[in-house]
């Protein structure tokens, strides 16, 4: 943990919300039409409700205009003076009815807009595990399908349909800058369709409490122009590159010999475990362990050496490795681009 100086201006900016959050994970910074539509809806609701609240508060303050310092004898009941307040209350209730009817209708139409289906959509199957994400890009030709973890690329402008499954507990798929969230529920299949209209890096985070490391269950959505996306796709379909250095090939041998291979898959090797993320191109991803650490050789080594300290309770055990072994394994992992 690095100690940072207090940022007083940020504190002052709290009310304006300039100071909170980053554009890559925020309902207030849409990167696609859906999130944009939702932001408009949020704005309208906030404005309407804000005005209603203000009006009510003005009346509330005005009730104090006849306040007294001490307790006086109770006022006599007088039906005559009740007429005006009664009219006011009736009018207020009627206005309430109109406003909520309007908001309900608005909400209904926006809901309908959310569920547009597009046959052109790219289809990605999402499996959420305690505490990481597996994405399989579907393809009519089975050999063209491929699996990645914790980071996906999408082509700008093209809808992507996510088929949501949860093999263990409930999780929730949420990329606020692109769309609202949708739960992944064991025994049920849900889906959600997203479109990114602007290239960029959007962060998603599991929103449903799913146990110990719910806080560390993030993923990245990288939206890029269709040609860059196609190139990425081609690269991800490749098996893992052959180790280029001796150290890396030693690393591969250790990886395959130790428990690692029982849990992880590396295409092009004998490692075909499914309990952990597919590592075929792990070094091409920006973060490891669901957003926990930026991918560097150091962080790969640190993670392999002691995953339980970095992300307590996660489902990867500590596999005892000597320091040479560790260095070799991390060299190998770093080569998996």
């Amino acid at each position: 943990m690095t100690a940072r100086p207090l940022r007083l201006p940020a504190l002052a900016a709290v009310l304006a919300c300039g100071g909170c959050g980053t554009p890559w994970q925020s309902a207030l910074h849409p990167g696609g039409a859906q999130a944009g539509g939702l932001l408009d809806l949020i704005t309208i609701f906030t404005a309407v409700c804000g005005i209603v609240w203000l009006l009510v508060m003005i009346v509330t303050l005005l009730t104090l205009r006849r306040r007294r310092a001490g307790i006086e004898a109770p006022l006599p009941r007088d039906e005559g003076t009740e007429r005006r307040p009664r009219r006011a209350v009736q009018a207020a209730v009627a206005t309430t009815v109109v406003i909520i009817a309007g908001l309900t209708l608005l909400s209904f139409f926006v809901t309908r807009g959310l569920t547009a289906d597009d046959p052109q959509a790219l289809v990605v199957r999402v499996r959420a595990y305690q505490w990481w994400w597996e994405f399989t890009y579907q393809d009519p030709r089975p050999d063209q399908a491929f699996t990645v973890a914790n980071e996906i690329h999408v082509p700008v402008g093209r809808p992507v349909r996510f088929l949501l499954e949860a093999p263990d507990v409930i999780h929730s798929f949420w990329v606020p800058s692109l769309a609202g969230k949708q739960d992944l529920i064991p025994g049920r299949s849900n889906e959600i369709t997203l479109v990114a209209d602007q290239p960029g890096v959007y962060r998603g985070q599991c929103a449903q409490f799913c146990g110990l490391q719910h806080a560390h269950m993030a993923f990245l959505v990288i939206a890029e122009p269709p040609d860059r996306f196609a190139a990425w796709q081609v690269a991800q379909r490749q098996p893992a590159p052959e180790p280029a250095t001796d150290e890396a090939s030693v690393g591969r041998r250790i990886f395959l010999a130790r428990q690692c291979a029982a849990c992880h898959t590396i295409q092009g090797t004998t490692a075909s475990g499914t309990l952990g993320p597919d590592l075929t191109h792990v070094a091409s991803r920006r973060y490891i362990a669901a957003g926990l650490l930026p991918t560097t050789r150091g962080s790969l080594a640190a993670w392999t050496a002691d995953p339980q300290t970095l992300k307590p309770g996660n489902n990867m055990p500590m596999v005892p490795l000597g320091s040479d072994e560790l260095s070799a394994v991390s060299a190998y992992l770093t080569s998996l681009r």
């Binding site: 307790i71 609202g180 449903q208």
Partner: protein, 637 residues
């Protein structure tokens, strides 16, 4: 058939005031000593205990909140581990909902309702004692488990499969489920007592349109409890069965269903929030009337609003499940029904405003809390309307926006009125006033602290911060706002601390209050402060909704009850016509034994199903002891 002969001389008519008080006290009092204290069935003593215990849980839950805020003040902080944090927020939520908010409202009612309807004890006083003991036992189970690192860590709504046999090994989830059983048994018991007290023990003449609004609120609340709580009992029992003997209610692989849990939970959980809120509504109505010095505007409208909120409450539960993938059209229906709640809520707000508007408001501390309530609750209601919209909710569900919403309605909507109510009724309960000067500080600190703490959470939620995360990376830039929130939470906490201190100090050093310090109109102020063991020497008879305002010279009362046994009047449901002179049970230790036997059975049954079989033998024995006639005058017809 032997019916006790009616000796005219033992009727209260013949006795002068002092002699009557003496004889009634001999029959109704709780003698000194530990044993008598454990055996008492006086609703005032039990109510006092209930209130005090609930506030202890508020303090404990608040300390947990402070602990969470310490952890969240900075990114990647290590004040506590992920495991501890998950226990802490679960404990905070479960404790606040099940051990503080619901019980404290019932506790206030246990104390106040019999006084407000003009009777001498609550209906089924022994059940009342039992209920309190069960509540305490539930609290001890939950907190005891937490102290031994066995506190539940699954969130206050304990979604399966995370709380199921496979993903929650150990006993933590069972502790949660069984704590539910304890608190529900006690809540259901109080609800039954209140319904019967309100239906059948009202003072002669207190027809439906003269019932104090707080009592109306408690009547509707009690029905909500009776109809909603069985759902959570079904849910938590099924969970225990899944975990203990391998049933498959929630296991999709064997025909069960994960969402079944959510339906059952929220069928209870949504009414639950109105179970907390409606009593607060009753408190606000009471305070508004007394301190605006006029009868309430729109009595009928307020009563109908409370009733319709209660009915609508059962048609909203799906709004907690908007992102679970239910059919969109169905979800939109729940948007409509959720928003419809704004109508009765609006009616209430507008009627209170009309009352204050045309009254002569006196800004004593209780009314200050009402204004704090109006400011805060209406804002919370507005965010409620926002999250009721399906598309809106897909962005903010399970984020700090929702955390902000529900603290605005829970703290602003329920705790503020409650604090006002404490300042208001404290003199009745203790005979002494709390400090007006300190009270202003409390109101100010709590109000400002609260809004500074929770308002920014709306923004955090929109800025993408999910709830229930034990930490967050620095690069998310939520750090400064969270720090601000945590610092503000300390201001809020200091307000609560001052409140507790004021209450403690005033117990001994408060200004003596007299019977009716606020010149309030309802019956609880017609007796002394604190009230005698029998509440009223002669039972009041009312001819208006504001008896103490409309008959300022003398209180109308009834005679003809026996002072030599515990006797109350039973009256008809609609027009409160006296129907019978019923006896009310004496003090008894058996409710305590029954509660102990039940607690042992419930805790034991976390470990083996046979506990239910063997454990019910002592319960049955204790129950027989409870009901077996003891040959006292109250046994006679």
């Amino acid at each position: 058939m032997s019916v006790a002969p009616e000796e005219p001389e033992v009727l209260d008519r013949r006795l002068d005031a002092a002699a009557l008080d003496r004889r009634l006290d001999a029959v109704w009092q709780t003698p000194r000593g530990l044993w008598a204290a454990l055996a008492t069935v006086d609703h005032k003593i039990i109510g006092r205990r209930y209130i005090a215990t609930a506030f202890v849980f508020l303090a404990l839950g608040g300390l947990l909140a402070v602990a969470m805020r310490l952890q969240l003040a900075r990114p990647e902080a290590r004040v506590m581990s992920a495991d501890r944090y998950n226990q802490v927020f679960t404990m905070h939520g479960a404790n606040m909902m099940f051990l503080f908010a619901v019980p404290v409202m019932e506790a206030m009612a246990v104390y106040l309702v019999p006084l407000m309807v003009g009777t001498r004890n609550i209906a089924f006083p022994r059940l009342n004692a039992f209920s309190y003991w069960m509540y305490v036992a539930g609290g001890i189970v939950l907190w005891g488990a937490f102290v031994f690192d066995m506190g539940p860590d699954i969130g206050w709504f304990a979604y399966v499969p995370l709380s199921g046999p496979q993903y929650a090994p150990g006993k933590r989830a069972d502790i949660w489920a069984q704590m539910i059983t304890f608190t529900e048994v006690s809540a259901l018991a109080v609800a039954v007592e209140l319904v019967v007290t309100i239906f059948k023990q009202r003072a002669p003449g207190m027809s439906l349109d003269r019932i104090p609004l707080f009592v109306w609120s408690m009547l509707v609340t009690s029905f909500l409890i009776i109809i909603a709580m069985p759902a959570i009992m079904v849910a938590s029992t099924s969970l225990i069965l899944d975990r203990l003997i391998g049933t498959h209610f929630f296991n999709p692989a064997e025909g069960g269903d994960v969402l079944l849990w959510q339906h059952l939970f929220w069928f209870f959980g949504h009414p639950e929030v109105y179970i907390i809120f409606l009593p607060a509504v009753g408190m606000v109505s009471t305070l508004v009337v007394t301190f605006s010095r006029r009868p309430v505007f729109g009595y009928l409208g307020l009563v109908l609003a409370v009733i319709s909120t209660g009915i609508l409450a059962f048609g909203l539960w799906v709004h907690h499940m908007f992102v679970t993938g239910l059919p969109r059209l169905g979800e939109s229906f729940f948007t409509g029904s959720s928003m419809a709640i704004a109508i009765p809520s609006g009616v209430q707000i507008f009627c209170w405003l009309a009352t204050l508007w045309s009254g002569r408001p006196v800004l004593k501390v209780p009314l200050l809390f009402v204004y704090a309530f109006l400011f805060t609750f209406v804002m919370g209601g507005m965010t409620g309307v926002m999250v009721a919209s399906v598309p809106f909710d897909t962005q903010v569900h399970d984020t700090y926006f929702v955390v902000a919403h529900f603290h605005y309605v829970l703290v602003g909507g329920a705790v503020f009125p409650l604090m006002g109510a404490v300042y208001y009724w404290f003199p009745k309960i203790t005979g002494r006033l709390m400090s007006e000067r300190v009270g202003r500080w409390v109101a100010g600190l709590v109000f400002v602290g609260f809004n500074l703490t929770f308002f920014p959470m709306h923004l955090l939620g929109l800025a993408g911060m999910p709830r229930r995360v034990y930490t967050y990376p620095a690069e998310m830039q939520w750090g400064s706002v969270n720090l601000f929130i945590s610092l503000s939470a300390l201001v809020l906490a200091s307000g609560f601390l001052l409140f507790f201190w004021d209450a403690f100090r005033s117990l001994r050093h408060g200004i003596p209050a007299g019977d009716n310090p606020w010149d309030a109109p309802t019956l609880e102020w017609a007796t002394s402060s604190p009230p005698p063991s029998y509440n009223f020497a002669r039972l009041p008879v009312v001819s208006s909704a504001y008896p103490l305002w409309d008959e300022r010279d003398a209180l109308s009362v009834a005679t003809g009850l026996r002072p030599d046994r515990r006797e109350v009047l039973v009256s008809s449901v609609a027009d409160a016509r006296p129907e019978a002179r019923e006896s009310s049970p004496r003090n008894s230790i058996w409710p305590l034994w029954t509660a102990i036997a039940t607690s042992i059975m419930l805790v034991w049954s976390i470990f083996t199903p046979w506990a239910v079989v063997w454990g019910s033998i002592p319960i049955a024995t204790a129950l027989i002891g409870w009901f077996w006639p003891k040959g006292v005058p109250e046994d006679d017809a």
